[in-house]
Symmetry: C2
Subunit: 163 residues, 2 copies
């Protein structure tokens, strides 16, 4: 995504049967939560899963129509909000982009931390101890922490080697 280097990048999105399966599973989870996986929601999730890395909202808007027609911004933003609410997508605040949630098994909203390669865009979602540490630090300072944004930028192994 960010062109801070000149070597080639592999891409890691889903396609074909794997994409279909992920979408079906997502739909099942949404339905079991008593909500609907409507066409725009499915479409936005599909675009995020196909990409496999953070995507800008206006890229989603541009790619929304299968026929090349762009969507109107609220269509995509509403879908993103829905997907975030169900823990299927996350906003990466530091780059104003959105990414499909890796751990689609887990239901509902969940904390997440991200490792983002500034070169190829590969993004790893980790649920390590980061949240615990920051929540503990917050508690020590008297804060009741409700939500954390943890984003680490750098180079992934492949890009470091290629550089």
């Amino acid at each position: 995504m960010n062109a801070v280097c000149d070597h080639d990048h592999l891409h890691s999105g889903l396609d074909g049967a794997r994409l279909d399966r992920a979408l079906s599973e997502a739909e099942a989870r949404v339905v079991s939560a008593g909500e609907r996986m409507t066409p725009p929601r499915r479409r936005v999730l599909s675009l995020l899963l196909e990409s496999g890395e953070p995507v800008k909202a206006y890229d989603l808007i541009a790619r929304f129509g299968e026929d090349g027609q762009a969507a109107k911004p609220p269509t995509v933003y509403r879908a993103l909000e829905f997907l975030e609410r169900h823990g299927m997508a996350h906003r990466i605040a530091s780059i104003s982009a959105y990414v499909a949630c890796a751990g689609q098994e887990v239901g509902g909203s969940h904390a997440a931390a991200f490792l983002i390669c500034d070169c190829c865009g590969v993004t790893r979602e980790i649920d390590g101890p980061g949240q615990d540490v920051i929540a503990a630090a917050g508690a020590a300072a008297g804060y009741a922490i409700a939500r954390t944004t943890i984003e680490a930028h750098g180079l992934c192994a492949a890009c470091r080697d290629a550089a």
Copy 2:
């Protein structure tokens, strides 16, 4: 800042002699780094210090002129970039706002984590173990981490009690 509650809030910015002293110290540090503390840079830093909590860029733009005249956006964004470069201000990505750096003693750029009260806006900068933990998790995944964004939202002790 965010009006998610209805009780009163204390504010914690600098003023008078303490503000003057902070600005003088900042200028000394800039000069010793071989750069200049020009009027717009000083003005933006002053606004951030006076506020004591995260401020939106366009609020800085609106308050820039002592006479009530707004600045042009690049004036303020350039000053913010300069202050960030010198570790005197930080961008809070999750709310698109900027805050003066608490640890003005430390020179140069430094990692930081923030505890942000969604009610009164009070923001604590902590340099706890958060960065280390996330950097270690990144290293374990093969990433060379260059920069982290760590922002925890919740309620500070005062707002929790007042709620």
